[in-house]
C-alpha cells in the first residue's frame, strides 16, 4: 500500500470473495490460553484453555454472547488487559512463531501495531478526545519508525485517510474525534490498524455500535483492508450474519471455551454443537419464512458458578438431563471438518429450524384503530449563542400519518436520528408535538387534560431499549411494575395482586417481586418492564428497541413472549427498531422512516419481499444474512445517516440514493406517499426499484 495503493481501497472487479488456500505457518496461534480474574466472589475463569490459529489471508470469526470470553482472549493475548484484578494469564499467543506472552513488555510493544493490530468496538471512545485525529494515526507510524519525519508521517497519514475513505483528508487530519461521526471514527481506527501493514488484524465487534448502512460500509472496508494487507484476520462478533458474510472459518465460544470450530459453510449447514444449532434456530431471519423462534431457555452462563459438567448443559435441549453432560466436561475433539466439544455431537443438526416450519399468519388490518396519527410533526429549536437564540430547527418528525389496528403490530424501522424514537415518545406525550393530531380510542390525546389525559395515558404504555436503565434501581421490581397503577390511584393491595399475576404471565417468579432490579439479568429486567407496561391494561404498547441490548438467545425468548402476550391479551404493538429482521419477526405492517418522514409502508410480507423504495431496498441489502451460501456483492449506501438540521428540498433521500442523485424530479419535488404495488411509497421512481 506504500506506493502502489495510494488511491482509495476499491473492491476488486472480478471475484467478490476470493477463495484461497491457507497453507503454511499460521500468522496467529493462540494456544491453551487461560485467563482468570479475582473477584469478591472468588476466582473467575473468563477464558478456559482456548486454542485457535489463523493463517495469512484467512478470516476467522470468533462468535459468542456476552461473557463468552471472546474479547478477553485477544486482549489477554496482546497484553492489553487493563483491569486491575487479572489473576492469571497463561498459555501462548504466537505471532509469526514468537510467543507474545513470553516477551518482556518492552519487546511486545514493538510487535503491537506493527505485526498485529487491533480495531475496537466503540470507535468514538477508542480515540483520544484531546488529540488531533491525524496525529493519532501518525503516532502509530512513528511508534515503530523513529526515523520518520513529521512531514513524511503527515503525507503517509493523508494517504491512509484517503484509502479508508475519509473525505477531505487535509482538513480531517487536524480535526478532533468529536467532529467525526461513528462510522468515520471507525475508518480512522482502521487506518491506524493498517498503517504498518500488520500480518494479523484483530477486529473486536467493529460494527456493533454502528447503523446498518454504515456497518455494511465498514465491513466492506475491513474486507478490502484484509485483502490489501494480506493479513490474517480475527473477527470477534456476536452477529451470525456478519460471520456468514465475512469469515472463512468460525469458532463458537461459550462460557470461556471454544465449543465448536469449523469452516463457515459447515458451521451454518451442519452445526455439531447444540449451542451453535440453538443460536442459529433462535435468530429471526430475513431469508426464511417467519415462524416461532426456537429460543434457548435460561440465561448466558454466570462464570462465577462453575460446574463439573458441560457449561451449556443447563440450557441444552439434548443433554440437559443426561448424567454425562452434567458431570463430565466434554473436550474439543476433531469431527467432521472441524472440532466440537459435545458428548452428543451428532444430534445437534436436529435442532435447526426445518424448512417446512409453519409460517405464522399476519393479522388482518381491518380491525378498528387504537391509535390514529395525522400530520404529526416535532420540530426542535437549535439554540446557540449567548441568549440561546434559535438559529436553526431540526425537523425530527415531519408530517407523519399512521394507524394501528386493535391487536395488530406496526413495525417502525429506521437508522439512528431518523426520528423513530421522537415519534414513539410523542405518542405518550413525553414530547409535545409541534403539529398534527393523535387519537387514542378516538379521543384526542393532545387536547386532553386532567382526568381524561390520565385515563388516556393508561391506554398507551412504553417499553424502553435498555433494561439496565429503564427500571428505577431503588425500587423493587414489583414496585417498579406497579408504578403505573400507583399513579392511577389503585390501592396498594390491588396493585400487589395485579403485579403478581403479571409476573406469572411474563415468566417471572412472583416471589421475586420484592427484589431490586440489580439482582436480575437483562432479559429478566426486560420482562419486568413488559409487566409494567401491561399493568394498567393498555390498548397499545410501544416498544422502543426492546431487544437490541439483549443477547441473541435471550432476544428470542423475549420476542416469543411478546407474541404470546399479544395472542393472549389482544393488545396492539408499535414496535420501533433499527433491526429489520426483528421487525419482520414481529410486525404485521411495517413503516420505514427516513429523516423524519415515512418513506414506505405496507404489509410486512410484501414490503420485505419486494421493497419499492430505494432506501428500503438498500437497508435490506445492508443486512448480513446468516447464510454463507448467499454471500452477495452489493453496493452499500454511502455516507452517514443524515443530520436532521440540514434543510433539504425535494426528496430527502436524494443525497444517498442510488437512483435519484442526478435526477431533476428528485431535486425539485418532495415525493408524497403514493400507492405502488399494494403498499405506499414516497419515491418518484418506485417502479424502477426491483
Amino acid at each position: 500500500m506504500r506506493v502502489a495503493g495510494s488511491g482509495r481501497l476499491r473492491p476488486a472487479t472480478a471475484e467478490p470473495h476470493p477463495v484461497e488456500e491457507h497453507p503454511g505457518e499460521p500468522a496467529l496461534r493462540i494456544d491453551d490460553l487461560v485467563v482468570e480474574f479475582a473477584t469478591p466472589a472468588g476466582t473467575v475463569r473468563a477464558v478456559d484453555h482456548v486454542t485457535y490459529q489463523v493463517a495469512r489471508g484467512e478470516t476467522l470469526a470468533v462468535v459468542g454472547e456476552t461473557g463468552s470470553g471472546k474479547s478477553v482472549t485477544v486482549l489477554a493475548a496482546l497484553g492489553l488487559l487493563s483491569a486491575g484484578n487479572v489473576h492469571r494469564v497463561s498459555g501462548r499467543a504466537e505471532v509469526g512463531g514468537q510467543d507474545l506472552l513470553a516477551l518482556p513488555a518492552r519487546e511486545r510493544r514493538t510487535r503491537l501495531g506493527a505485526d498485529v493490530a487491533m480495531i475496537f468496538q466503540d470507535p468514538m471512545s477508542a480515540l483520544d478526545p484531546v488529540q488531533r485525529v491525524g496525529d493519532q494515526i501518525a503516532e502509530a507510524l512513528r511508534a515503530h519508525d523513529r526515523a520518520l519525519t513529521a512531514r513524511t508521517a503527515r503525507a503517509r497519514v493523508l494517504e491512509l485517510l484517503t484509502q479508508v475513505g475519509v473525505p477531505q483528508p487535509e482538513i480531517r487530519y487536524d480535526q478532533y474525534p468529536h467532529q467525526f461521526s461513528g462510522g468515520m471514527c471507525q475508518r480512522v481506527v482502521i487506518a491506524m490498524a493498517i498503517a504498518n501493514r500488520p500480518t494479523v488484524l484483530i477486529a473486536d465487534e467493529p460494527t456493533t455500535a454502528l447503523d446498518v448502512s454504515v456497518q455494511a460500509q465498514i465491513l466492506e472496508l475491513l474486507r478490502l483492508a484484509a485483502r490489501e494487507t494480506g493479513a490474517a484476520t480475527v473477527l470477534i462478533t456476536h452477529d451470525l450474519g456478519v460471520v456468514a458474510e465475512m469469515a472463512d472459518r468460525a469458532a463458537v465460544m461459550y462460557a470461556g471455551r471454544i465449543v465448536e470450530t469449523a469452516p463457515v459453510a459447515r458451521i451454518f449447514g451442519r452445526p455439531q454443537h447444540p449451542y451453535t444449532a440453538s443460536l442459529l434456530a433462535s435468530l429471526p431471519r430475513l431469508d426464511q419464512p417467519r415462524g416461532r423462534l426456537r429460543a434457548i431457555p435460561g440465561q448466558p452462563p454466570d462464570l462465577r458458578e462453575r460446574s463439573a459438567g458441560c457449561a451449556f448443559a443447563p440450557r441444552c435441549p439434548i443433554g440437559g438431563d443426561l448424567p454425562e453432560c452434567r458431570t463430565e466436561r466434554p473436550l474439543l475433539v476433531p469431527r467432521d471438518d472441524g472440532a466440537v466439544a459435545c458428548h452428543h455431537a451428532g444430534q445437534a443438526v436436529t435442532l435447526l429450524p426445518q424448512p417446512g416450519a409453519r409460517p405464522s399468519a399476519a393479522r388482518p388490518d381491518d380491525a378498528p384503530a387504537v391509535v390514529e396519527v395525522a400530520g404529526l410533526a416535532k420540530v426542535f429549536p437549535i439554540r446557540r449563542g449567548l441568549l440561546a437564540r434559535t438559529v436553526a430547527t431540526a425537523r425530527a418528525v415531519d408530517g407523519v400519518d399512521l394507524r394501528i389496528g386493535q391487536g395488530s403490530t406496526l413495525g417502525l424501522v429506521g437508522e439512528s436520528g431518523c426520528g423513530k424514537s421522537t415519534l414513539a415518545r410523542s405518542l405518550i406525550r413525553l414530547l409535545e408535538p409541534t403539529a398534527g393530531s393523535i387519537r387514542i380510542d378516538g379521543a384526542d390525546l393532545l387536547r386532553a387534560n386532567g382526568r381524561q389525559l390520565r385515563r388516556l395515558r393508561q391506554r398507551v404504555q412504553m417499553v424502553y431499549q435498555d433494561p439496565y436503565s429503564s427500571l428505577n434501581p431503588r425500587l423493587s421490581v414489583g414496585d417498579n411494575a406497579a408504578e403505573p397503577l400507583r399513579l392511577a390511584g389503585v390501592p396498594r393491595t390491588e396493585r400487589r395482586r395485579t403485579v403478581l399475576e403479571l409476573f406469572e404471565k411474563v415468566g417471572l417468579r412472583p416471589e421475586h417481586a420484592d427484589r431490586l432490579p440489580a439482582e436480575f439479568s437483562g432479559g429478566q429486567r426486560q420482562r419486568v418492564a413488559i409487566a409494567r407496561a401491561l399493568a394498567p391494561g393498555p390498548a397499545l404498547v410501544i416498544f422502543d428497541e426492546p431487544v437490541s441490548a439483549l443477547d441473541v438467545s435471550v432476544q428470542a425468548q423475549v420476542l416469543n413472549l411478546l407474541r404470546d402476550l399479544q395472542d393472549e391479551t389482544g393488545v396492539a404493538y408499535l414496535f420501533v427498531s433499527h433491526d429489520l429482521s426483528v421487525v419482520r419477526q414481529m410486525a404485521d405492517t411495517v413503516a420505514v422512516m427516513y429523516l423524519g418522514a415515512i418513506v414506505e409502508t405496507g404489509a410486512a410480507g410484501q414490503l420485505y419481499r419486494r421493497p419499492r423504495h430505494p432506501y428500503t431496498r438498500a437497508l435490506l441489502d445492508s443486512i448480513p444474512v446468516p447464510d454463507p451460501s448467499v454471500r452477495r456483492s452489493r453496493v452499500p449506501l454511502t455516507g452517514d445517516p443524515p443530520d436532521p438540521t440540514a434543510a433539504t428540498t425535494g426528496c430527502r433521500f436524494r443525497s444517498r440514493c442510488p437512483l435519484g442523485r442526478d435526477r431533476a424530479a428528485c431535486a425539485d419535488r418532495t415525493p408524497e406517499l403514493r400507492q405502488v404495488d399494494g403498499r405506499w411509497t414516497a419515491c418518484h421512481f418506485a417502479e424502477e426499484v426491483a
Binding site: 492489553l80 487493563s82 510493544r109 501495531g113 487491533m118 475496537f120 483520544d128 449563542g385
Partner: protein, 315 residues
C-alpha cells in the same frame, strides 16, 4: 467557543454584581452601624447624626450602594474606622504577604501532589504508593491549624530551628529570609492542599487509564511513558486544573486561622482583627477583594479549561 466564552463572562458579571451587593449589605446586618461605632460609645444623638451625614449614611440605600461601587472601582474603599489609613492602603499593605504565602503554599502543594497522585494512579500496589496513601490519609485528617501548632512545638519551641511566628519578607529582595519567615505557615497550608489535589489527580488519572482510548494507544505499540504523558496526563489534567484553581482561590482568600496562629501579617489576620474591632470599612473592602479574586480566578480557570479541551474550544 465564543458563545461559551460570552456566557461564562456573563455569569461572572452577574455573580460579581450579586457579590458586591451582598458584601455591601453585610455591613447593615452587622450589629451597630458604622456611625455608632465611629462616634464612640459615649456619643450623643446629634454627634451620631453628624457622623452619619459625613459617611453619607443618610442618603437613600441605592445611592449609598452606587457611591460605594463607584469608590470600589476607582480604588477608594473609604476610611478605616481605627487607623488613619484608607482601606485601600491597609489592604495594599497586607495583600502581598498573603499572595506570597498562597503562591509558596501552592507550589509546595503541587510539588508534593503531582508525583504522589501519579504514583498512586499508575502503580497502586507499589510500596511507595502505599506510603503515599498513608500521607494522603494523614494529611486529609490533620487539620492545618493543628499541624501548625505541631510544627511550632517541634520545630520552633523544641529545636529553635525556625521562628515560631511568621512574618512577611519580600521574596525577591531577601529570598532566604522570606523562606525562613514563611516556610512554616506555607507547609501548614500546603499539606492539606497537596492531599486534595493528589487524591483528585490520582482518581482522574486512574479513570483515564481505564478508558478505551488508552487501550487503542497501547495497541499501536506506543511507549508506556508516552501513553501516560501525552495521552493520560493530558486528559486527566483537565479536571485537575479546576481543582488547583479553586485551591489557589481559597489560599488567596486568606488562610485566616493559619495567619492568626503564626501572627502572619496577611489579609486573613487583618480581616479577623477587623471583625473583632468592628472596623466594617476594612471588612467590607477585604471581603470584596477576596470574593473578586476568587471569581476572577475561577473565570480564568474555566477559560483555560475551555482552551485546553477541544470539545469546548471548537463547539
Amino acid at each position: 467557543m465564543s458563545a461559551y466564552l460570552l456566557r461564562r463572562v456573563g455569569q461572572f458579571l452577574v455573580v460579581l454584581v450579586l457579590a458586591s451587593i451582598a458584601v455591601w449589605a453585610m455591613v447593615y446586618a452587622l450589629p451597630g452601624d458604622a456611625a455608632t461605632v465611629l462616634a464612640g460609645p459615649d456619643a450623643s444623638g446629634p454627634q451620631i447624626a453628624a457622623t452619619r451625614a459625613r459617611l453619607g449614611l443618610d442618603k437613600p440605600v441605592v445611592v449609598q450602594y452606587l457611591l460605594w461601587v463607584k469608590g470600589a472601582v476607582t480604588g477608594h474603599l473609604g476610611q478605616s474606622f481605627y487607623s488613619a489609613d484608607s482601606v485601600s492602603h491597609t489592604l495594599a499593605e497586607r495583600i502581598p504577604a498573603t499572595v506570597q504565602l498562597a503562591v509558596l503554599g501552592m507550589l509546595l502543594a503541587l510539588l508534593i501532589a503531582i508525583p504522589i497522585g501519579t504514583l498512586i494512579a499508575l502503580r497502586p500496589r507499589s510500596l511507595l504508593a502505599r506510603l503515599s496513601h498513608g500521607y494522603l490519609t494523614a494529611g486529609l485528617a490533620i487539620p492545618s491549624f493543628w499541624l501548625a501548632l505541631l510544627l511550632i512545638i517541634t520545630l520552633a519551641v523544641r529545636t529553635h530551628a525556625l521562628p515560631a511566628t511568621g512574618d512577611y519578607v519580600n521574596f525577591w529582595q531577601h529570598p532566604v529570609a522570606a523562606l525562613r519567615w514563611s516556610i512554616l505557615p506555607a507547609i501548614a497550608v500546603a499539606v492539606h492542599g497537596s492531599c486534595i489535589i493528589a487524591r483528585f489527580l490520582a482518581t482522574s488519572l486512574s479513570e483515564v487509564m481505564q478508558r478505551d482510548f488508552i487501550r487503542t494507544v497501547r495497541a499501536k505499540g506506543v511507549r508506556e511513558s508516552r501513553v501516560v504523558i501525552r495521552h493520560a496526563m493530558r486528559n486527566a489534567a483537565l479536571p485537575t486544573v479546576t481543582v488547583v484553581g479553586i485551591q489557589l482561590g481559597s489560599l488567596l482568600g486568606g488562610t485566616v486561622v493559619i495567619e492568626a496562629l503564626f501572627n502572619y501579617p496577611g489579609l486573613g489576620r487583618l480581616l479577623y482583627t477587623s471583625i473583632g474591632q468592628r472596623d466594617y470599612a476594612v471588612v467590607q473592602g477585604g471581603v470584596l477583594f477576596v470574593v473578586v479574586v476568587f471569581l476572577v480566578l475561577n473565570l480564568l480557570v474555566d477559560l483555560l479549561y475551555a482552551y485546553l479541551d477541544p470539545r469546548i474550544r471548537l463547539a
